[in-house]
Symmetry: C2
Subunit: 161 residues, 2 copies
Amino acid sequence: MSDAAAAPATFVTPAALLAHWQGHRRLTRRVIEAFPEDQLFTFTLGGMRPFGEMAMELVSMAGPTVEGIATGEWASAFDRDPLPKAELLARWDAETARMNELWSRIPAERFHETMKAFGQWDGIVHDLVLYVIDNEVHHRGQGYVYLRALGMEPPPFYVRD
Amino acid sequence: MSDAAAAPATFVTPAALLAHWQGHRRLTRRVIEAFPEDQLFTFTLGGMRPFGEMAMELVSMAGPTVEGIATGEWASAFDRDPLPKAELLARWDAETARMNELWSRIPAERFHETMKAFGQWDGIVHDLVLYVIDNEVHHRGQGYVYLRALGMEPPPFYVRD
């Protein structure tokens, strides 16, 4: 089912999947924006990480994953230190542009090959990408609980533009 | 990018996407199982729904969405009343088998067509499916916060077997 045959059946094309992912990233950006600056790296529930730390994980995974898939070069160091919200959002936006450029260089057959992400995780490339997206949706859902617990209304889940 | 041309580039095949989805559903099932029976439909944070109510939403969306895509018949009524955990899990498992059977009947080109889900939401079929999966990951992430706040360790995110 992950065979790189000439014309495999298509659930979604690479271009549509990138559009879907960038829609998620626009929503996650709004969730970061919604946090009060003084709660982004401090507020927690249940002994979990603050949402800012999760967002630093997300922004350090997305672009470097696309870069690794496109070029075979996997980043080996990540800066996940807390940033002022404006700087985190600026880094987010820089990664958005970089991902679009890198994605366009990935040949479609690569999504069905196996790669070792970051020198550690073997997987079919489409699974590696879906994992990064799912990890973002998972942690963003946790950010929604944090915002609600702070008495704030999170941005609507279904708006992705 | 969502064109139904003869051999569109493939990010993921329908079979691999179903396998990915069922992996998520196995994890969500474990999260439901992890909740103490007396907290599943009662425990909340931030004024949000209890996780049991979210799980009833998830189990009433997944199978009926696949059914609608496969048959053109969209369910118009959903039973989302609270169930004892064992009955909720039994319903979950019944939907798992039904989804596998229905999915096998969907021609690949349909994923690139537009349908109106449940008589209400127009979308390209792959986007309708991804929305249902993402909604599950989103709410399951919220269930993780509830479990942590209850002092419990959630099942590992990356284990899907």
